[in-house]
């Protein structure tokens, strides 16, 4: 255990800092020294995810007459990000029409409020997405980030 880490734990034991603060400090130390705690390491690896994977595998128990669809798609995160940025090209007069249509369909949202930072956050939040569906004869569908 490093000296800094011990000092943080001492401060926590003495009640000088809260558990949250200690956790944040330890996480920051782990990032700077590279000796991350397992939970911190998991967080870092989440940030390293570069691809969206969509995998459809056929059901091995399906009969010979059933079509065996197999899909393996790997989409770079950078491509999703770049695609999302295209929304910033929507001209101001077109946004009014979009907002009206959204409102008509029950979505009270002004797309002018969506900034590039929000898009980045949205894409980052998507990294937690994991869908695993096991159907009947269709097989197994997995959507995840790696």
């Amino acid at each position: 255990m490093s000296e800094n880490r011990r000092r943080v734990l001492d401060m926590l034991a003495e009640g000088k800092i809260s558990v949250d603060e200690a956790e944040r400090l330890l996480a920051a130390m782990g990032e700077s020294t590279g000796e991350a705690e397992p939970s911190v390491a998991r967080e870092t690896s989440k940030d390293d995810r570069k691809y969206l994977r969509i995998v459809v595998e056929p059901d091995p128990d399906a009969g010979p007459g059933v079509e065996q669809h197999r899909v393996n798609v790997r989409v770079p995160m950078a491509l999703i990000r770049a695609g999302m940025k295209f929304t910033s090209l929507i001209p101001s007069n077109a946004t009014d029409q979009i907002n009206d249509n959204l409102k008509r369909h029950g979505v009270d949202l002004d797309i002018r409020d969506i900034k590039l930072k929000d898009i980045e956050q949205l894409v980052d939040a998507m990294k937690d997405l994991e869908i695993d569906v096991q159907g009947g004869q269709e097989g197994k569908v997995k959507v995840y980030f790696e």
Binding site: A78, G83, S88
Partner: protein
């Protein structure tokens, strides 16, 4: 800095046909750059003309965003098959 994909690999397989293709995209990028430079004055002119209509930013930003999109294609891989036919597309 992001690098654009250098190769596009295509593979189509069926019962009666089967072919694969390696397209050297790195040969296209210099031409793309020259084309972009030649179009730049026209784009600036179009942006000036469209300024009152609110489309100038769209015209100006389209090029850089398109370039970003093309660069981001690197790593894209699509592999679809139904047991009889297969389509494989990969940007490398």
């Amino acid at each position: 800095m992001m690098r654009p994909p250098l190769f596009l690999r295509l593979r189509f397989c069926g019962r009666r046909y089967r072919f694969g293709l390696w397209l050297p995209l790195f040969l296209i990028w210099p031409l793309f750059l020259v084309g972009a430079l030649l179009l730049l004055p026209l784009v600036l002119l179009a942006a000036l003309i469209l300024l009152p209509f609110g489309w100038s930013l769209t015209v100006l930003m389209f090029g850089p965003l398109l370039l970003q999109l093309l660069c981001a294609l690197r790593g894209l891989q699509v592999d679809v098959s139904d047991g009889k036919e297969q389509v494989y597309i990969s940007f490398r």
